[in-house]
């Protein structure tokens, strides 16, 4: 039994090695971020594209037309929360991707779109990937394949946490550094849980 569990623990770790690194890098990168109001303003890359919204469409329908005309691969369907109007009453549509958001403004009087690309840093993209699971609505095959792999990884993470504890207790329960370590780790978790509940 112990031999089988050890084998599964090893194979699971190898299978999701990339995801484990993604989770670890994500945790470090979000810790290093300054407070939200101290983060540097992101400067987008701006371009324009001809666009005339068809007549009699709702804002949501226009937003979906914009998404399809721009061919941004990693976006999903547009929702109401993606839509707003600026001070000049121009329709503004935010298209989210794991590589960063695109803010598009419909300049109807000029028959064109203003497109602002706020490309994420690699660390923010990895953060986005760590959170991408089967719930994603993005139809892009690359993201769907990643989402499936990531969901597989999070189940294996649970399994590896439990199998790891089992392997310790089955093989070296008397190893005192591990005893202290589990007591400190679990104790800190439980104490913080109670204090911040």
């Amino acid at each position: 039994m112990q031999s089988l569990i050890r084998k599964l623990h090893i194979y699971a770790g190898l299978l999701i090695f990339v995801n484990l690194l993604v989770y670890g890098i994500t945790g470090l990168s979000v810790t290093m971020k300054p407070a939200p109001d101290e983060r540097p303003l992101r400067v987008p890359t701006v371009r324009y594209q001809a666009f005339t919204p068809p007549p009699n469409l709702t804002d949501l329908q226009v937003a979906e037309q914009i998404r399809q005309s721009l061919h941004i691969a990693l976006t999903g369907p547009v929702h109401n929360y993606s839509i707003q109007h600026d001070a000049g009453n121009n329709l503004v549509v935010n298209l989210w991707t794991v590589n960063g958001p695109f803010k598009t403004t419909v300049l109807e009087s000029e028959n064109r779109l203003r497109i602002e690309d706020y490309r994420n840093s690699l660390w923010d993209a990895i953060n986005g990937l760590h959170a991408t699971t089967g719930r994603t609505e993005v139809p892009d095959l690359r993201l769907r394949l990643w989402a499936a792999y990531n969901e597989f990884a999070l189940w294996l993470l649970i399994g590896m946490s439990l199998s790891g504890l089992y392997l310790w207790l089955a093989s070296r329960p008397g190893y005192w550094p591990a005893q202290i370590s589990v007591a400190v780790g679990a104790g800190v978790f439980v104490l913080l849980y109670i204090l911040t509940r």
Binding site: V18, Y149, S161, G164
Partner: protein, 189 residues
């Protein structure tokens, strides 16, 4: 070297186990929210504070002096009242303070177990006003380093086991080609 790597992997692993289980279970909750009840327990109470506090931060301090702990967020000053929230992972206080009377209506929303795990998953950063959230943030970094350390020591420990080397190499190669390949493909847009 093998013994040191094995001991390191063990110590890091058992230290992180409960944290990693929290991340794993809360990830399942976020992926499949329909499987869990996230309904918080909501109660209401009224506090008598000093009247005339026009600054939301002063009103929040007065409320916090009564034992409500957390970060001050979502301040909405208005005519005749000020609304704000005091937030910590398991509890959200929504406070409506009226400066004319000094009355503060407090709606307390206490998370269920899964709700708490969900909030803990999102805790990060060392810049919070409420110190205990910064402590959680510090442990996010510690567990992240531990996870990376376990991954690297795990590779070494696997490689040293001759019986699993062949199958393991295939699995690792598959993981690297699939995972890194997809990350590169996605990053290229």
């Amino acid at each position: 070297m093998y013994r040191w790597m094995r001991n390191t992997h063990l110590v890091l692993g058992v230290f992180s186990a409960l944290f990693l289980l929290m991340y794993g279970v809360s990830s399942v909750q976020m992926t499949h929210p329909q499987w869990f009840s996230m309904k918080p327990r909501v109660t209401e109470t009224t506090l008598s504070l000093a009247p005339g506090l026009t600054d939301a931060r002063a009103a929040a301090r007065a409320v916090m002096d009564r034992g409500l702990r957390g970060d001050l967020t979502e301040v909405h000053p208005g005519a005749g009242s000020t609304r704000f929230r005091i937030v910590r992972p398991g509890t959200v206080y929504t406070v409506l303070y009226r400066p004319d009377s000094g009355e503060a209506k407090v709606q307390t929303s206490t998370a269920s177990l899964m709700g708490m795990l969900n909030r803990l998953h999102h805790v990060n950063g060392l810049w919070h006003g409420y110190g205990l959230i910064n402590v959680w943030g510090a442990f996010v970094a510690v567990i992240s380093i531990a996870l990376i350390g376990m991954s690297i020591t795990g590779i070494y420990l696997w490689f040293k086991r001759h019986t699993e080397r062949k199958t393991g190499a295939i699995l690792l190669a598959a993981s690297l080609i699939y995972g890194v390949g997809l990350i590169i493909a996605i990053r290229m847009g």
